[in-house]
Symmetry: C2
Subunit: 398 residues, 2 copies
Amino acid sequence: MGVFVRYTPMTVTETSSVARDGKAQSITLGQTDPLTLDSGEELGPFQVAYKSWGQLNADKSNVVLVCHALTGDQYVTGVNPLTGREGWWPLMCGPGRPLDTNKYFVICANVLGSCAGTSGPAEVNPKTGKPYGLDFPVLTISDMVRAQAMLLDALGIEDIFCVIGGSMGGMQVLQWAVDYPKRVFSAVPIATTWRHSAQNIAFHEVGRQAIMADPNWHHGKYYDHGVTPHAGLAVARMAAHITYMSESGLTSRFGRSLQDRSGVTYGFDADFQIESYLRHQGISFVDRFDANSYLYITRAMDYYDLTINHGGILADAFRETEARFCVMSFATDWLYTTAESRNIVRALNAVGKQVSFVEIDSNNGHDSFLLDEPEMLEIIAGFVRSAAEQRGISTDDG
Amino acid sequence: MGVFVRYTPMTVTETSSVARDGKAQSITLGQTDPLTLDSGEELGPFQVAYKSWGQLNADKSNVVLVCHALTGDQYVTGVNPLTGREGWWPLMCGPGRPLDTNKYFVICANVLGSCAGTSGPAEVNPKTGKPYGLDFPVLTISDMVRAQAMLLDALGIEDIFCVIGGSMGGMQVLQWAVDYPKRVFSAVPIATTWRHSAQNIAFHEVGRQAIMADPNWHHGKYYDHGVTPHAGLAVARMAAHITYMSESGLTSRFGRSLQDRSGVTYGFDADFQIESYLRHQGISFVDRFDANSYLYITRAMDYYDLTINHGGILADAFRETEARFCVMSFATDWLYTTAESRNIVRALNAVGKQVSFVEIDSNNGHDSFLLDEPEMLEIIAGFVRSAAEQRGISTDDG
């Protein structure tokens, strides 16, 4: 893993006052040895913003790494200071939750390229003193994982007891198991895939084209113009959001119900609730997310293919991993389908890995992993508890 | 059906020199009695551009009405003079084809609101001398069908032997059978639905928002500014196009294949073939379609719900129809699924109508109805031939 900048208290900054909910911190990495990206470019120094909950035990055997999705961030639980709202996985993570912060040292880092404190296109390029924009290097999921490994190295953490995440988080989970086969004890990839499909790429390309078509985008230099390509980013979010929900879920939640009116208006207002809902999703998203980050992270997802360095054979990618897996999919997820999860399970089986698989019968499509799905929570709690026993982590409830 | 302007040679204009491929014509309707739309607004006079093939027989019993889809037009077969390319259904319509122009008088009219000669938002409002823009009234599928009925009235045609169409064309087919229960002898709704679902509306809303977010749209008055919202319309087309293809079809046709390059470029060019293909779909569409028409027609589709005037009961909508039906769906069509076609079939069965149903096992998703699907062509040929026998239409092949 090369020589990375080691953790020193001086490089760590408290960036938030929500310490009662966990520690929000930021670290400078790659100062002496930059991160070599898959593109060949070198990145450094760069910031990684992260947050942790619970205590690292004496033998550092209780580390749970949570990986967030495309538009997620390090604020897994507790109040997100950027939005003032609850984190994105409070039912999964917290005292007594499946990722029990009374037992585990839970850590989540904002991915490289994102916009919640970790270096990305909106951050100032230390070499120019101006925002990177499109001068930020294009990344891969592997690069994101490598930056997380540098963070753990800097924190003096070698082994990950459990790496867990949904959607793009699940891609990172699998990439961790493949790229760091000895460092991961257990892995929980949820609602994810082993490579982005043509349809996945197509939806992302629509979003990128919507952003880049917005005249406010200014070829990525909108920071200099005091504007943001909010209209394009909202359209991108709307298109993506449809893929996060199931057809049946949309029908049962919205159907053809009208929005605060007794009949259609024969116009282009949001007559239907689904229209109003989608518009809200688009508008509220642009307040919290950088458009260039959206370009970079969708690109990393499109480039994602676990088989790339393994001769196109998925099983070969998993050959060296020492992790045990809990693979989970949702029946109505049409973005990353159960069939893709089954491909992962088959590949793991083919090289004799320990894997359990469950498809959750939810109506909520891809977004199910973020929602109150009791079966999901129960199964993951059981898997993590069992893995903790195998790992010999001392726990209160034995 | 009220009193409509009757067909007179004076109101018919040859608009094309492709008469050898059929007759392309345009008619002015609603001059004395305007068309009362579902919105309550009145439209008239207005143009309907249509094309016909074959000869009307003596008792006018051989009329086949073809209904086109969202971005289609009246150029079913032969060269489309607007694009210079082949029409959209040459395998279905022509001498010896399922809709055999040697036997039937086949007619197709550009729908109201569209942009291939029939009145729509891009056409000049006779009252102002300027393009309608958003002053064009918002339409429904029923309104489109009503305009077609006015056209047939003007041509002196009462009965339709067969009304056929896919996607939005299929919606018109069903609407014909419901709104004119005695005029339709047989009906072939293909790859369609009985009401637009929340997911269907959602995809259309994304497209509309993309168009309306384009500064060139100018609240629909772009005609006055000498620009078109091409970027927004291209994004709308790209998003829609994904829904026309199946996930498996995209995977087998494109997968993760790269576009004329040996490796990814770590940039935002179209590295993948699917990206290049989608961009081409978007760019080529804006040359042939009016952005406001796209708004109007998608809106009509979103408003489509056959049960509206029938107490919410689909079977009740079909109670009066005298048509026999051939309902057809495609296994990988996720836009208008087989389940929706089955709902139509069940409703028809519930009120004792004659209906045959087939799901075609194609990998091409929704677009299958436009492609060379031998089973589709064979089944429709058989259905039409059998209906012709029941109707007592004299045919060459008996």
